[in-house]
Symmetry: D2
Subunit: 341 residues, 4 copies
């Protein structure tokens, strides 16, 4: 299979290379970066020395590369412009940006502050959360790869909402992300000198992942959904921890509910009762690891969900979607254990 | 004033020394550590070279030191045994452990797993949160210094509950603490190799600070209080961030509510509307810094509260209480700016 | 191949599991930990959930496991007692401890503070640095896996000393190690609260790796070797950076010297001239990455060498040795790119 | 005393504010930042809320502020242009940049890549290392505050070179700096995602502090000086650790040599024999802490020197110089213990 990557100089780009470069069935034939065009990929990312023998290309050259599938690891607003021509030429696309995630175009335009140029393709796009939409992904031409927070939050709430066991209008997601979630751009706020040995919330008034999550939760529920979503910045490189709160509407065995819902899912791991997942336990792996609690036996369910924001929260899930779209085994290339310690 | 410290080899002990050693009005005459007895304090803590010229003593020698006030920076269960004799001899006591914090002895015994040996002194103890109990502290013989989480959580909820503006039976505190909160004991779980570059929740089923916080919140409220409290471990040295959620029962100007409640408080800082406090902004200082949000204008108030767990969450608040108890200016020795970056 | 691990609850143990658990040609049939005997491995190391379905055994049960090869990931002093019986029974052994590294028994006893119980096996042991002793390793029954510092320091000095281009009696190795090098034992000094956001040298008067390195360097040189070795503790989880200084005795093209020496080595990577390797560029990989400089064109060569102390510095090199000893391709299971960022 | 700060939005600027804002004898009347002009200082640095009630001004307004002394905390090349007018008007100046550090103008121009506009003031400038030049500093109109690395390296070598006890032409300084040394500018390389949990050398071919250090060492020595200087980037916020190597030319009691040289120095602390200073032991304090070793009793002296790069390595030493220049007690405002843990 011939694979291309548009936007290869960021963290999701290099992570796609890490996951794909050791596979025999995948041939990475194209990787672009406007700023790095002409430079060796392994000069920017020395960890790939000996693994990737490519130069960065200009993104406009992608059409000549005749790819079976192209990943967009680009800033928001790029894929909606460049993907349609590839799709029309028969290339499949996994977009890791937000361009095709929200079905409501007006909502998308309000949160992302630009006009959408491909509303038709939004309708055809499949939201790439395999635990919800696996069969549609298999036949999709265009997959909108979920955001990092939305993956953890949706997987954590899914069993509760599907079972109708919680109030859907008082949900709370207190989420914490490692700093790679902010991307590889130069910024004062994300300097080690600013962010290390510290912790803060951000975007409490409204984060772009709020409408994406609420859309996903609404698809699981017959009742109206209302979520309070509070993102925080962790002084760690990789890792998301979502702590989810939901008011229970009836007595239910939470542990069994979660274990049964995910028993056949290769990348969702329900921990034993009473335990607490650590983000490092999924560092570099495609697993979302969950634990569910009912503190003091009271009426609130507390779900703990961890993932690597660059793997199950981005590039790993994108590869999982690619596997499904290309008819390959879903877990191919995604079964390495986490790097711990 | 002659001051003693029982249990000086832990983090709250060395922090008391840092805060007190530069003061002219305070004479530290005694510091104990059973394990370190006979050793120089600055051999264990080289940061105090040139500042503290003392040896660690055996704790039993404290009575000969004729202190005006003694801090207990000891594990739970020590002060309740040793403090009464000092108190009977006229020495004032600030206990940084949990021994005198819970008025309900049975509750204390259940959470701390031992029998209480001084229930009478529990009744006489004043809970050392000056923003609630300042006048009682001034005349107290024994002050129970609040826990680190309880300080941040109570100060964050206080204006909302006093104003009767929120449902008190669905409160949520999602709290994150730096690792010094776990103390200076050797442990695998708190090794840098285990805790760095990672994040997890712990004690979700029940943490000892839950009853302490619920007791404090109940004192602010006429309605029954029910709190879901989820502690997490941050890979930072110092700092607590409490993210608090409360359902609003009526329209109210949250920013004004908080600013007015705390306008005369020297160690509570209400940030401007729309901002997010960082834990590093209080690193080494005695300030609890708050911001209050009402995301998307919906019905949930979100309070962000940060403090240094070793200062306002422990030793700094203990010094603040000492100042009040000894009739000194409340802010003496506590006005250094935070160390940032 | 049936593989056993003695001492599986430490960092080198779990790292062996990470590297071996995905291989089809390797069957881990035995893993021991006296303290954890009877417990599931993945309860201690949740990162291995779904990858390792074993219980910890008592080490004494190893003989019943009929292993082709056994790794000792034990504290110093254990393998010298337990390995001989296995060796006599025809099992091959890779010892990751220091028991068989020093040919001079008296020297070993002085540095390690105990009497050696297997001096005969010391003579038969092959030092497991494939870049020096590959052919001997292929036929060895017992391999002494090098220490973490010694691997980086020897690989960095090797081209210079072999070429006779430097003074061997004024060598300096200023080495910095991540904290996993100190092991997984509970200790105050290695707490995150003690070691994070800080840096220090340690054991400057004499570190156990000094005689091991000097022995190795002497094997490369016809001239007497004298090394000043200064270890430091880095606040990172994995990674060693050795900065090596040697006085040049003649003009030589250092870049070519290094590239030629290592051109056929699969796990030594010589960076382009003028560059600086980062420890994260080898995080989780078996590569030792080198750069060589001659600052200001003066008479001192400066070599920068990085490795992951748990991989090329321990478990990865042990697997490389295992591959050689079992006649498998040397690089099997060791070609994953580093985890970066 | 009326004090001004030019360039107040960087790390040395905010550190000057931290050190000066609590003093009664100092009135900060002016602080500039071209980019932040008109904004509140405590909006940029919330740690200063309640401590600094100033707006950033345009730097050109400094002359109207009628300062007794002005600090330049500006990028290289600014002070040499703007300071002369202030000096001519009778204002004293402490320049924290490199503009006046090198007496050899041609050398300065080569390393800093620009033409020097004030060579006359270079000659009048006094190098602000009080342990070497205290009396000249007292009467200086212009002090060139030393670089961070040069302070630690010079203080570490000083006793050895003054005593003529080491070869001066084979000196080695292996230095490691926390990331605040790189300043507060946005950059990819200094992101937490790039620099955390990693370590690297940089500028091994030549760093601007090399000529500054060699100039200083030459002033201590009658013999020619030749230094190999290797800087490294530590994943810590503050702190420099310099590991210094010098070949001894004769037998000498190193511990006594160091203790005697620094016995009257308020900000140089010689640790007991056999110990290892940690950078955190000087976090936030103005102390340079030293230990000296002679490993294995061989012929190389190893000096370990730590300082906080923003305090003794920058703003703290600048305040020490200000105290001297203004006839105030040298230690005023600089005696807070370090923040440890």
């Amino acid at each position: 299979m011939r694979i291309g990557i548009i936007g290869g100089s960021g963290y999701t780009g290099v992570e796609l290379l890490r996951l794909l470069s050791t596979r025999d069935d995948i041939d990475i034939v194209f990787i672009s970066s406007r700023a790095q065009a002409g430079n060796r990929v392994d000069a920017l990312f020395p960890s790939l020395r000996g693994h990737v023998d490519l130069l960065f290309s200009d993104p406009d050259a992608v059409r000549g590369a005749q790819c079976d599938l192209v990943f967009f690891a680009t800033p928001n607003g790029t894929a909606m412009v460049q993907a349609p021509a590839l799709l029309d030429a028969g290339t499949k696309v996994v977009d890791l940006s937000a361009d095709f995630r929200l079905q409501n175009i007006a909502e998308w335009e309000r949160w992302y502050g630009m006009q959408h140029t491909s509303p038709d393709w939004v309708q055809q796009a499949v939201y790439g959360l395999p635990e919800m939409y696996r069969e549609s992904i298999r036949t999709a031409r265009l997959v909108a790869n979920p955001g990092c927070y939305p993956t953890a939050v949706q997987l954590g709430f899914l069993p509760l909402i599907e079972a109708g066991a919680v109030q859907c209008d008082t949900l709370i997601a207190d989420a914490k992300s490692g700093i790679t979630g902010a991307g590889r751009g130069a910024s004062v706020a994300n300097l080690l000198a600013e962010a290390a040995d510290s912790f803060k919330a951000y975007a409490v008034q409204g984060h772009r992942h709020l409408p994406e999550i609420e859309q996903g939760l609404a698809n699981m529920s017959s009742a109206p959904v209302n979520l309070t979503f509070t993102p925080h910045l962790l002084p760690v490189i990789r890792g998301i921890h979502a702590t989810l709160y939901a008011r229970l509407t009836r007595d239910i065995d939470l542990q069994s509910l979660f274990e049964e819902r995910y028993q056949d899912e290769p990348f969702v791991d329900v921990m034993p009762a009473g335990t607490h997942p650590e983000t490092r336990s999924v560092r570099g792996s495609n697993v979302c690891r969950l634990a569910v609690h009912q503190p003091q036996g009271r009426h609130t369910a507390v779900v703990l969900a961890v993932e690597d924001n660059l793997v199950k929260g981005a590039a790993g899930q994108a590869v999982q979607n690619m596997n499904l779209m290309l008819g390959l085994p879903e877990t191919d290339g995604l079964l390495q254990p986490a790097l711990m310690p």
